[in-house]
Symmetry: C5
Subunit: 95 residues, 5 copies
């Protein structure tokens, strides 16, 4: 999984994924300090992640492994909102 | 998912994917402002995306998760035509 | 899918993929003008693509989605021989 | 599979993966000498890997292929704790 | 598939993949001349590839498509030992 910050939203009018209510968020890859890295992707959110929150994103086929995303053409899913990260026993990020 | 602009079409004479009517589009990866990034791929379109439209593309195995692409050798699918993107509460792209 | 030119063949003596007759081709990634980019991979060919032809290659898990490749350990498959590409309404490649 | 060193942990409060007890570790990609490469990812651990241990990580869809991760949205899994690596008949890493 | 040279072995003491006898090899990505490129990964070997042999490696989910690797968390598998490669009708590698 990768770490990313929620920075915006993407609205689509024509979708063929049959997921009414699906919310696509613009996320920016981040490091373990929660610092943005300038690399963006669009991830599906079913957790209600808020603006500027650090999240954990699963990419590829495993994105479909939730009740809401089964058999959907989704390749990036927010699977967790990060509370705390530590590296070498030092806290690097705290929500 | 990634953002990309529709820039052209790819026509193939011999296909082993058994998808008569499938339309392969040349798309160029774009940022959240709709600006092209010089990196291209071929994506299947079943939504009728038009030239120069900004679209959302799903890559890899999840591309097969639509009625038309089930069990097809497709690794990039246009899953949405983008209407609007905002970043940090500023609109960065409007169709 | 990516665009690539057929530039050679790869012959293996011991294979565990149980695909007698499978033909592995050395392909070089190419742009929409059919120009080679110096980046190579090995793709399975079941279409009879010829030397120097521009082809469309599907990567990853969807490569298994043809009658011949079902349940085979193949991660790159030639799914089309390109006839024509246009970009911004200009033909960039013609077979 | 890739080699990586366990360098920290990631704690999430809201998870949609229904894996109570799952432990997400921050790992840093490493070479065959066990030297860190400055590139990080989050991997699920079900083996009890300890801090600073060199591990083998499986990425993508195969991460789901254990009893604990079946049908879970996991795209990186620790599948082994490395004891020893040799290259050209020289030991490059020993636990 | 990619080309790689067998350069070493990786031994793990704790594995959750339930493949007794599985042999993990350290392989280095190589070009069509069999020249190493300095980029390494760990691949599962069920063919008995020898040291310094050039092999063909399948990555990702299709690695599971052999009797021995079905439902295993393996993302790189040696699927062939290369005998010969030609590019533009010139032999570039011969075992």
């Amino acid at each position: 999984m990768i770490l990313a910050k929620v920075v915006g939203t993407v609205v689509c009018s024509s979708r063929n994924d049959s997921m009414n209510g699906a919310r696509y968020l613009l996320v920016e890859k981040s490091n373990q300090h929660g610092e943005r890295k300038g690399d963006y992707l669009v991830a599906l959110d079913v957790l209600g992640a808020g603006h500027d929150e650090l999240v954990m994103v699963t990419e590829g086929s495993p994105s479909r492994e939730t009740p809401l995303t089964t058999n959907k053409p989704v390749d990036a899913l927010i699977v967790g909102i990060v509370d705390k990260i530590d590296e070498n026993e030092q806290v690097t990020y705290m929500k």
